[in-house]
């Protein structure tokens, strides 16, 4: 089947992820949405790799995963510490600083 469809899918996933970031309150969920966006990118990479017939795209996919993992580590650490001090993981609660 035409690989271009995978591109559409990845775009869709990316958009879903972005929307999630915009609408969800819970930091964890927001974070997962971001992961979703990254994975959408991965899909795009792999698809292009398939279309172009070179390996770079797939290699990058692995890099992306690693980076995502790293982000998880850092991100969760931060979010957890925030949760522990506030007993809430809502990103909206964290709005002491404004204006």
């Amino acid at each position: 089947m035409n690989p271009v469809n995978y591109l559409y899918l990845s775009a869709l996933l990316f958009t879903i992820g972005a929307t999630g970031v915009l609408i969800r309150r819970n930091a964890i969920v927001v974070f997962m949405c971001i992961e979703l966006m990254l994975n959408a990118c991965n899909l795009a990479f792999v698809t292009f790799s398939r279309m172009h017939g070179n390996l770079d795209g797939q290699v990058i996919a692995f890099f992306t995963m690693v980076v995502a993992a790293a982000e998880v580590v850092v991100g969760l650490a931060i979010i957890v510490s925030l949760f522990r001090s506030r007993h809430s993981a809502s990103v909206d609660d964290a709005s002491l600083m404004k204006l």
Binding site: V21, L22, L99
Partner: protein, 631 residues
Amino acid sequence: MENLIALLVAAPLLGAVVLLCGGRRLDAVGHWIGTILSSASFVIGVVLFTDLLGKNAEHRTLMQHLWTWVPVEGFQADVTFRLDQLSMTFVLLITGVGSLIHLYSVGYMEHDERRRRFFGYLNLFLAAMLILVLADNYLLLYVGWEGVGLASYLLIGFWQHKPSAATAAKKAFLVNRVGDMGLSIAIMLMFTTFGTFAFGPVLSHVGDASEGKLTGIALMLLLAACGKSAQVPLQSWLGDAMEGPTPVSALIHAATMVTAGVYLIVRSGAIFNAAPDAQLVVTVVGAVTLLFGAIVGCAKDDIKKALAGSTMSQIGYMVLAAGLGPIGYVFAIMHLVTHGFFKAGLFLGAGSVMHGMNDEVDMRKYGGLRKYMPVTFITFGLGYLAIIGFPGLSGFFSKDKIIEAAFAKGGTEGWILGGAALLGAAITAFYMTRVMLMTFFGEKRWQPDENGNEPHPHESPKTMTIPMIVLAFGSVFAGGIFGIGDRFLHWLEPITGHEEGNSPVSALTVTLATMVVLVIGVGIAWAQYGRKPVPAVAPRGSLLTRAARRDLLQDDFNHVVLVRGGEHLTRSLVYVDHTLVDGVVNGTAASMGGLSGRLRKLQNGYARSYAVSMFGGAAILVAATLLMRAV
């Protein structure tokens, strides 16, 4: 000989500097220093005069170049003095009368602790006035012109603690500034027309200039003259100027400074001759003023103000004469000189009266003073006779000549001007008689003032009477000396030029007419003030009288139009400056602040809204990029 000219100015200038910077240690001798230096100047004047008499007419112009004042590309002003018959006449008048009045002041100001300063100012005035008449170009003349203005400002306001005096001084200076504006514009016009403003080149090249320009110059000069010589419409300051000490009124506001306008016109005769329209205006101004002043003089009860009115009117005669052109120049100056004598004498007399009456100026509180102060009475009386033109006395010669000349102008113009002059003569006779009667005749009308001390009229000290006597001699004989055999005419002619007008009426008729109106004037006055006692409080009087008491409402006009209007203007401008000009800027700043305040609301602290802005931004970025490609 030329080198002496500078000394004429230097002597009083030195006096001014010494007296004003000398400090209290000179208080004891200050007045004598001043008097000596002014008399020194007079002596130098006499020396130069004899020297001039020694030369024949065409070599009687001495020049002294001192230094180059303002050298700028295409613009050259020198400090150069020019002594010719005209300026010589003035030098003698100024220094002569000046010295006498210095002497007089020694006595008059005896009890004033700031006498030194007073003499400093007087010397300053002499210096400035001499610069005025000796200057060889209009810019230097302008220096003297404003210099005398400053001196008169300082002297009118000499008793600064009196608000009235301070105000009068300010008024005098301001009104004069308006005139000075005219002078400076005239100079600019000369510069653009002739490329210079030195007497020689300008007056000799008048022929090449267009009449329009010349008329403009002439009118501007006239404006200046009106300011200095208190001619309508700039006459309003002279009456108030009487706030100054009486010697000042005598010297500056009667004998010398106020005649500077006449000097200016006569000096610039060539220009006026080439601008007949301007001349007409001059004559009109003169005529109007001589009536105006006379009328005002009739209504005043304040002896000095009455004399001030008369001064105005007499200068009106001179300006009228000057406006007649070569027919009248000489007589204008001649009347100026004789007037210098008798008017100064009258003022000194008035001063002497006030001196004896605890500075009372209201003539209604005088009466019968002739027994108490005989010398003053006689000298004043002689001055009186002179001014009303009693046959044989100074005024008779000079004034009649002017009236003749007025008629000699010819045509309806001549009739009108002549008529005005005659009428003026009648009124003069009336109000001067009035002054005379109210002051020296009748019986005493003075009462003890609120704190009970009654004035004890007494004759003034020698230092005061001597000058009065001298001036009285002048008032009696000067006219004769000048007039008989046209001596003065021959003396001045080379400078001013002279031509006989074709008078429709003979000189004799004019003289007779003058006599008649004189008698009428005196008669009416006697009828009103001589026969029946003068009321101690002024009657309400006719409308004209009341208007005349207030200088024919001219001040009220000024006050409403200029003063009030000006106040409103400045106040509103201050408001505008603060709200509008400043407001625009502050407004911008404020609006920036407001905008900032609204924008920072976007920073609401919610991470998600930040994300929204990022997402939107990204979308716009992408869209824009694509759009760029599309277009």
